[in-house]
Symmetry: none
Subunit: 206 residues, 4 copies
DNA sequence: TCATAAACGAGACGGTACGTCGTGTCTTTAT
DNA sequence: ATAAAGACACGACGTACCGTCTCGTTTATGA
């Protein structure tokens, strides 16, 4: 996950592959128990059965570590095939809401976004590891809907990208705001409501 | 802004009113320069020309202080009268985006939201001081649109509230995600695009 | 013991006088148990029931702290009145040897002398706190011997000082070398032997 | 110098003989530049162009390494033949003072003596490598003086040994104290002064 | 006018975490 | 088997903030 290539035929003892996994798992466990602000790298290292230096050799700080630990959570997202575009979207949004309901995601995600407002490299890391990585769902969903004939083919690819970005901002933003700021559950009722507004609005746009 | 009533005819030296303003201003200045995570209360006190004890007598910690310092920023929001619902919304969204472009808001807002995921009292303070306080804009906007005949009167008030909440989550969420996560400007083009989708979707909903 | 004057009508909370004594006592206890090289300032602070910052506020590091802790040990030295110069000297040398037999002195003294070879300020601190402070014994002893008529009055004061320095280097050096390097006890037999050589040599010098 | 015998007809790659010398030289260089307390074994290994493991294979730690590095310095001492006992002693003492004026000796010697107060094996190593090894100078000096008729033959060999020890403690102790603690040069004037006192005292003793 | 009492500045205090460094061991590839 | 390289567990370093405390001082009220 971190940029460093894990060595080739280099001299010296190679980095432990197990340590990486243990550290990320320990980070998520600490997020659940303590939340972002009380999470300490010393504690994470202890939980992972690893020395602090080992942790610092791989990650430059708390923010980078948490981004990687949280990013893995979103890889669980799958685009379900529920037969219609609306149903597919609802399915993904519900999965997304379910992840945001987990404390390791709640605690960590907003914190690193907050930090990223003053750290360009961190913002880029978030974009790569989380945002762009999951934008695939929008792309896949549109392709499937076009195959079904629910959506027309895109004429202009620039325009298609702009629309994908808009959708992503609206969906991710609304769900995050609903669950973290308004602190209301993004349950089936709300998701159906939201999806209808979104799809109708988009349909008229084309 | 903080809960404690500042005394009435009590004996002893009264609390300095100037200190409050100085502290909040110093907090915003520190947010601009340092960001949330590097902001320290000792530094804020120094900037405000105040002892640390004075600060702690009024606020219980960093989070509460930052919520109050940031909340004041959003009180600048005004619902402009641009002649149509769409134009009014665009106006408010642009103002909102402008505030989110300011570093004292960017740094502070997401951080306290992140902290609030593990602190019920803090979440409530955010809701009161920021979210509910600005929801007035949605209410006013709808009332004005109904007066113009652009929207029908609401039959069910529960339903009206639910719609207001949905709108707020979508608008606030989308703008925040666009500016902070995607790190793209919420400029006039994007706002027009977004508003059209939102309004069309909502119209069909009624 | 440390240079800083303990405040005088200054603002702010005054430094705890008890902390100083507790820290020095804890330092000696740690020297006994652990020796100089395994002594850590964190451990000393814990033993003294004090925060590390409190310790660092008063002493700049391990060396300065140990000098002060050890210096107090030598203040116990008293010039006994045993009736003759030789007997007086034997008495002081035996006391000196007894102090050097205590582990808190053995561990600490040589270590700070070693460090002082690369730290001018530390060397000066040792001279002030230990060496010059105990040179009083030589001065007193000579005065008493002159009063008894055992030694003539000094004509040249520069010469007197040079002799005092020589005596001090020979006495302190020989006892230290005997106890720490040769690791043999400086017992009554050895002390009597040594004193006889020293006094005879000095007598012939006059 | 170190206890381990460097292999005979054993299988495998033989130990590099050059490495030993390089390590000891690097140790002395590091003592000059950094002093004992800032000297690190990693740095010594790097200076010697050797891996840390190679160093640890030969010495068990910093103290042992420094003892060996410093011990070599004292092997330069030679008993000069200046015609009289007093002149011979003065010559040796001046040489000894010259070695103690070199930073690699100053830094290292007292430090290992300090450490030896809590490490019996280290004390023994110092005695063997440095103290007993140089006591030859006292023995040789006495023999030469006896040959010249300046000193009588010793009747009791136990007594002779005791006297040699006393001389060694007084000489080594006084010079070390003069140069390291009093931080005054052991120059010709001082050495002549000191030697006269010592010899007169010893003469009367017989 | 003068005592009372709270707020104030200053800064020391006991803690906790930081990120770095040194130690001595271990694991790899190369000789 | 030894060598160079470097990762590893461990533990101390000295610093920075935290939130609390104890001072001397200031500024109001009400007796």
């Amino acid at each position: 996950m971190q940029s460093r290539t894990p060595a080739a035929g280099r001299p010296g003892r190679p980095r432990s592959a197990a340590a990486d996994a243990a550290i990320l798992a320990a980070t998520r466990a600490a997020l659940v128990e303590l939340g972002w602000s009380k999470l300490t790298l010393g504690d994470v290292a202890t939980r992972a059965g690893v020395a602090k230096t080992t942790l610092y050799r791989r990650w430059s700080g708390k923010n980078e570590l948490v981004v990687d630990a949280v990013a893995e959570l979103f890889d669980e997202l799958r685009l379900p095939d529920r037969g219609s575009l609306a149903a597919d979207i609802e399915g993904v949004v519900l999965q997304f809401a379910a992840i945001l309901a987990r404390p390791e995601a709640r605690s960590g995600l907003m914190a690193v976004v907050a930090e990223s407002t003053r750290d360009e490299a961190l913002r880029e890391r978030i974009r790569e590891s989380i945002v762009e990585r999951q934008k695939r769902l929008v792309i896949e969903g549109r392709a499937r809907a076009q195959a079904r004939g629910e959506l027309p083919e895109e004429a202009d690819s620039t325009d298609a990208a702009r629309t994908a970005d808009l959708i992503f901002d609206v969906v991710a933003g609304a769900v995050v705001h609903r669950t973290l700021v308004s602190a209301e559950p993004a349950d089936e009722t709300w998701v159906r409501d939201f999806t209808r507004v979104l799809l109708t609005g988009l349909a008229a746009r084309g």
